[in-house]
Symmetry: C2
Subunit: 455 residues, 2 copies
């Protein structure tokens, strides 16, 4: 973040009181939405039912399409308007049977998950070279040829550590390795491997790539440190098949005065093949959906349209995000604000927004209405993967910010289940999404369009 | 705990200063032991090496016997005295292939582990009845016939909740169920099933018994609550084979004046078949072993013998504990004190002892020497499974008490790995075991033999 100049600070202080006054006019509907959201566990129950009914909702699977059908029917039953789906072609990666077997210094099945997009292998057996950074791999490049490289990298931040998952196979192939393993990206595990996407580089061999549980990665490193020769056999039935059709879900409460102006709220409906995806991102989908359902229930029809968008294929392609941008290109200038919830629906703290200063001020003022539930913090720099493509065209975009303490414990694992979310937190996340989207759609002056020039 | 009477309190206050004065004479050797234990990560490294080298050390497996051989060699290399093993016949339960498949309302593989001692089944397929207590099963007994009963019981205390694991199969069989499932016994999980022993009753059919992950158990309960028909197929290749030989490990530092009087320190060397058993109980074994190694290294030969005993088969039979009692029956009256570490070697808090009041006072005085590492709390009522048989014959017995916050997260799971333990906590646990056993063996008056009559 750049330091705030004196001039910008003065502008900011001048703008704030006026915007705050504006927003305070909406205290009554805001309080109604908060009360309605926090009255019961409806949102948690809906999230749990979605997760339990369909299980993992991976792009290209019938389970995802059945979940989409069910949501569409439920939304219609809720009385949402203009409920429909929009076609998206999505990638189809199939995991197949897979295993990582420790052969030496002793025999054991390791806890592993192939990385999304990886090529398969009928079986590659080699000595393992454990490194703790790309820099160490560069230093030991001469030792890596013909080996399986394991990046045993302790979690710092997701942005930093995930590099080893996305780029590991490329960097390992560059030094002649036959496969790439990575310590699961997260701060804590219980022999829980985390999957996620890997990338390839067209100028280098595509080598198979998988994640090990944190525990197993640390064990292999200790074995190497004791001078033991570590050998592993990796088998992966992974295949990339032809693209298949999926859909984004769209539903609205139409604006009473300026229906063509749109506030988008949403999350992504797909999850990884192994993950029930309760927090990532059934909870985010339900937070957006319930926000609009509550407006409907309370008879709060805002000046502008609030549109729920549940994107498909966030996890391994972002095809839904791109398809939404393409299908709605003509109305992009009418997108007042886009709000994504994809950080889990733990205790909400507020929002963070990427937009111009006036847009930030407007949103900050709305945020103050969320003080009763402790979600009134509005920061800069947020957004979301699914709203990224329309933000790139100028739409102010922001993300729901929540307590992230445990998000990366469960991210992309089998343990991303409903019990990890507290019904009270989910309810308050709904309230935050509802108040923010309702007031942004209701207040007389629209939030200014446009994004600041990239520095 | 019973309220302290005025009389007892007066006696206690009178006794304390004298005992404390006695123990304070041993401050110098105690401080040396603490310094030596906390100087490096030797204990953690040894625990990790034991775990990494052999993996799970289940009774009846070659891995357990190889681990025993290795420990014996290492103990000899450390210069411990009278290092030997003592024969024990142990049960041999083999898990085999196993699965629990959800068939309805949707297909999914559940996260399961068969319970130790369970019979197998080539495949039993039935509707599931989810209950949350034995009382609910009794109320719904008529519904249970021919079904698979799932005890979905939230964790309260281990002692209370583990009843559903040990007695579930009996209670389910009593009402005509064909199999018994139990929510894994623990306060938190990441799709991590916990194994452990189940029991049968000779007058009832022996039905297969398994644990589900907490998440899966809760999901089945939600499905039932939604009125869905839950069907599961359980397959278990479990078999109980003939007993096989194993061994307890014994090693000593012989007493310089009264070698026939013995302070026992120990833990159990076996673990469940799926569990690396780092905290349960490689850490406890190493804490006892390192305690004696440090005395040797520092030239601290106490008045009495300190004997390390690493018991075999704690997890599914207690055969090692009983064999030790039987092999040493003649010298039981010479057992001054028995100390077990089997609660994980997390941050040590002190000890808890089951003994007469004078023995308690003596130990409480020694405990004060552990104030520098925060392990000076001495309570009543402790012991350990492996020292239970000799305590029943009058030996004062106690357990190392540690921060148990996460013990039952990992207990009997694949996630009981070295990384869960902090080297500094392991080092301080060694220090606590070393100071307590050294001073108990060194102080002029022996701790009085005998156990209070059971109230």
């Amino acid at each position: 973040m750049k330091p705030i100049t004196t001039l910008a600070l003065a502008a900011l202080l001048a703008a704030a009181p006026a915007a705050a006054q504006d927003a305070s006019r909406f205290r009554a509907p805001a309080d109604s939405l908060i009360r309605a959201a926090t009255r019961d566990s409806a949102a948690w129950n809906r999230m749990a039912e979605l997760v339990d009914r369909f299980g993992p909702r991976f792009s290209g699977t019938p389970e995802l399409e059945r979940a989409i059908d069910w949501i569409v029917e439920e939304m219609k039953r809720d009385g949402l308007e203009n409920v429909h789906t929009e076609p998206v072609m999505v990638p189809r990666w199939v995991r197949g049977q897979e295993s990582a077997t420790l052969l030496s210094p002793r025999a054991a099945e390791l806890h592993m998950l192939g990385l999304g997009g990886s090529v398969g292998t009928p079986g590659v057996e080699a000595e393992v070279l454990v490194v703790e950074s790309f820099a160490e791999l560069t230093r030991r490049a001469a030792e890596a040829r013909g080996k399986i490289v394991l990046f045993d990298v302790p979690f710092t931040t997701y942005g930093e550590t995930v590099q080893y998952r996305t780029r590991g196979a490329v960097e390992a192939a560059r030094v002649g390795a036959v496969a790439s393993l990575v310590r699961s990206v997260g701060p804590f595990g219980m022999q829980t491997p985390h999957t996620g996407s890997t990338r390839y580089n067209d100028s280098l061999p595509r080598i198979p790539a998988a994640a090990l549980s944190m525990e197993d990665a640390m064990m292999l490193r200790r074995m190497q440190a004791r001078g033991e020769r570590v050998r592993v056999r990796l088998r992966m039935g992974a295949q990339t098949l032809a693209d298949v059709p999926s859909r984004n879900i769209v539903a609205e409460i139409r604006g009473r005065e300026r229906p063509e102006e749109v506030v988008v709220v949403g999350g992504h409906i797909d999850s990884w093949d192994v993950s029930p995806g309760a927090m990532d991102d059934a909870g985010g989908c339900v937070a957006a959906w319930e926000a609009v359902r509550l407006m409907k229930t309370l008879g709060l029809r805002p000046r502008r349209t609030v549109r729920v968008v549940l994107w498909t294929n966030e996890e391994n392609g972002l095809r839904g995000a791109n398809a939404y941008r393409d299908a709605h290109r003509g109305e992009i200038p009418n997108h007042v604000l886009a709000i994504e919830s994809d950080a889990g629906v733990f205790a909400p703290r507020g929002f963070s927004i990427t937009a111009t200063d006036p847009a930030f001020e407007a949103v900050r003022a709305i945020g103050q209405l969320l003080a009763p539930i402790g979600a009134d913090s509005v920061g800069r720099g947020g957004g979301g993967a699914d709203i990224g493509p329309i933000m790139a065209l100028g739409v102010p975009g922001m993300g729901l910010e929540v307590d992230r303490t445990r998000y990366f414990w469960y991210h992309h694992t089998t343990a991303d289940t409903p019990d990890k979310l507290d019904p009270r937190d989910v309810a308050r996340s709904v309230a935050a999404m509802a108040v923010m989207s309702y007031v942004a759609a209701e207040m007389p002056d629209r939030i200014p369009f446009g994004q600041p020039a990239t520095p």
